[in-house]
Amino acid sequence: DMPAPFDAPAEVEIALVRYLSTGDFFQAYLSGVEQQAAALGVTLRVFDSRQDAALQADMVDQAIALGVDGIIVQHGLTESMQEAVQRAVDAGIKVVAFDVNVENPAVPQIEQSDRDLARLALEQAIVDNGEAWTAGYVYVPGIAPLDRRDETWRDFKGRYPGINEVAMFGTLDNPIANAVANQARSVVSANPTITVMFAPYDEFAKGVMIAVNEAGMGTDVSIYSADVSTADIAMMREPDSPWKATAATNPAVVGEVSVRALAMLLAGEEPGAQVIVPPTLITQAMLNELDISNMEELGAKLPAFVHADVAMPAWMPLPRR
């Protein structure tokens, strides 16, 4: 009772063309895609360009050559993906894009709304610390989601002149948490007045938390971040943890939504130009209260986190939970 072409789902092949793959977020996203694809019964083909944008564009062409029915583009650069995606659309293939704007009206845009993520975390910081505090900020420019979160940070600084940013740092040297911890150590010892650290990426937050604890300032500094994983939950729940809140979408849910939006396109329905997966604010207090210790429990106890009610036509089968 699913619409064509899902009346014969085994004939349907979709491709996931990824730009980023290393790390928990991307692994969880992939698992969401896999589960929703399995629920639909379609064949999934994964192309991993491993942060090679040029290769990613080629992989779209490969998918075209293989004759897939639909493509999910996961991250990437607008400039390199635009033409490739256009070629796919021209070939009659349905395409959705997650977290990359391919500037194509035929391609719905799946978003986890980085601006909302940053906004939720910062609003919690205002709630916890008032409107005036000394801040440290972790940022590496040039990375699209971080750049979008940075816009929100600037907005906030404009809106609350009491926020005094005394240090900005950040690095993507591997392992990121270790490298950021080294920097954060120097920053907190040079600026002992910092009370709030805005680290809008969980790897950054981990690093900052390690440094703050090492400096023995765990009770003086509060950390606000974005994204969440099982390991993050454990760190937020450590006794006296400075990591107060994080805002996140469930990457697995985003993966599911991506497949569902694509399926709607294939079935001739319109998911809308933008499919936004709303983020959830997760605070330390909340985790302790509900005694949440991993992502599964987070999903179980925060229903908003385990399922997003977007791209949900009536016929859509959901993965078993």
Binding site: S21, R50, A57, D58, Q62, A65, S80, P141, I143
Partner: protein
């Protein structure tokens, strides 16, 4: 005492690697039939075009007994520079290409001078240069990627664009039996491979460069201008790396700060695999090109089999080790002392 008659072992040494590659192709075509299309073949070449070009540059420095760790950074610097020139200074594609190549050659020259005149050991000099460039390329934009419309520090937005002529370098496809089949970047890879191969193998200069790599002292005493050739090798390496960066920029269409992280290791791997091809046991352009394509085939095949990304690294490493053990253990001699 070198037997002219080719024994089985000799054959294995000479052709073992190519055989392995053929075996892989056969295997992949059976388990993933799509592997054997012209598109797929072109894709293999295209996916390694940029690393291949960088690897050919590294080969030139390996030939003179040197090593260049700065190639990855040179490529990303060229990526940023070309974007800067076109998007912020709003100049033409020609200027961008010229400035990038000049930059690459200059970095090569500096590397060469550091190593030859100031006697800094090669790994050290090029490692320092690498760090320096990685930082330098981000200073003008304060770490931001460069794209049309980006906010300028002075206020306003950048109006320049990547010119179509420039983008063509990375994106245009030539008709070859099938329409729109062969991308220009593949043509560049093949052309550069052939030129570097001819240069190293058949010209006086190439021969002298091999002589330097083998025994610089003896070459110098025979009247070879050792320093000049070494500097030239680093300039070749820098120039090719910057050309790789230009192609990358043309493919990306943006000065992306996050791209090009793996270029160094992948191209070094290709150049080193080249030692095993045809039992050369020394750096050589043909081997380097084959090495690059080999890695491309492997990754393409694994992708077709839906292997997760981390198994690709694993298989790459395992095949590399096995293929090389095979070659070097059988040939019973060490490669060139230097590596």
């Amino acid at each position: 005492m070198t037997a002219r008659r080719l024994s089985l072992v000799d054959l294995a040494i000479r052709y073992g690697f190519l055989l392995l590659m053929a075996g892989l192709i056969v295997y992949f075509s059976i388990v993933a039939p799509a592997f054997l299309s012209p598109q797929s073949a072109v894709f293999v070449f295209q996916s390694v075009a940029i690393t291949g070009i960088l690897a050919l540059g590294v080969t030139a420095t390996l030939v003179v007994g040197g090593f260049d760790l700065s190639i990855g950074a040179v490529a990303t610097s060229a990526l940023m520079l070309s974007a800067y020139v076109m998007v912020i200074w709003e100049m033409s594609a020609g200027v961008a290409v010229a400035l990038c190549l000049l930059m690459g050659a200059t970095v090569g020259l500096l590397n060469g001078i550091l190593i030859v005149k100031l006697r800094v050991p090669d790994l050290l000099a090029t490692l320092g240069m690498m760090f320096l460039l990685v930082g330098l390329q981000r200073i003008p934009t304060e770490g931001n990627s460069i794209s049309t419309g980006m906010a300028l520090p002075g206020g306003g937005a950048a109006q320049g664009t990547f010119s179509p002529a420039f983008l063509m370098l990375g994106r245009h496809r030539l008709d070859f039996f099938v329409e729109n089949l062969v991308p220009l970047s593949v043509v560049f890879l093949l052309a550069i491979a052939v030129v570097v191969w001819l240069f190293l193998e058949f010209t006086r200069h190439g021969r002298l460069m091999y002589a330097i790599g083998s025994n610089a002292q003896a070459a110098g005493l025979a009247g070879v201008n050792v320093n000049r050739y070494k500097i030239v090798a680093y300039m070749i390496s820098g120039t090719l790396a910057s050309f790789g960066g230009i192609l990358l920029a043309a493919r990306l269409g943006r000065g992306d700060v996050a791209s090009g992280n793996n270029l160094l290791l992948d191209s070094v791997a290709a150049a080193l695999i080249g030692y095993a091809v045809l039992g050369a046991s020394k750096p050589n352009a043909f081997g380097t090109a084959v090495g690059a394509v080999f890695v491309g085939i492997l990754l393409q095949g694994l992708t077709m089999l839906n292997a997760p990304y981390y198994t690709q690294d694993f298989v790459k490493g395992a095949v590399l080790v096995v293929a090389l053990v095979f070659t070097f253990a059988l040939s019973g001699r060490n490669g060139r002392g230097r590596v």
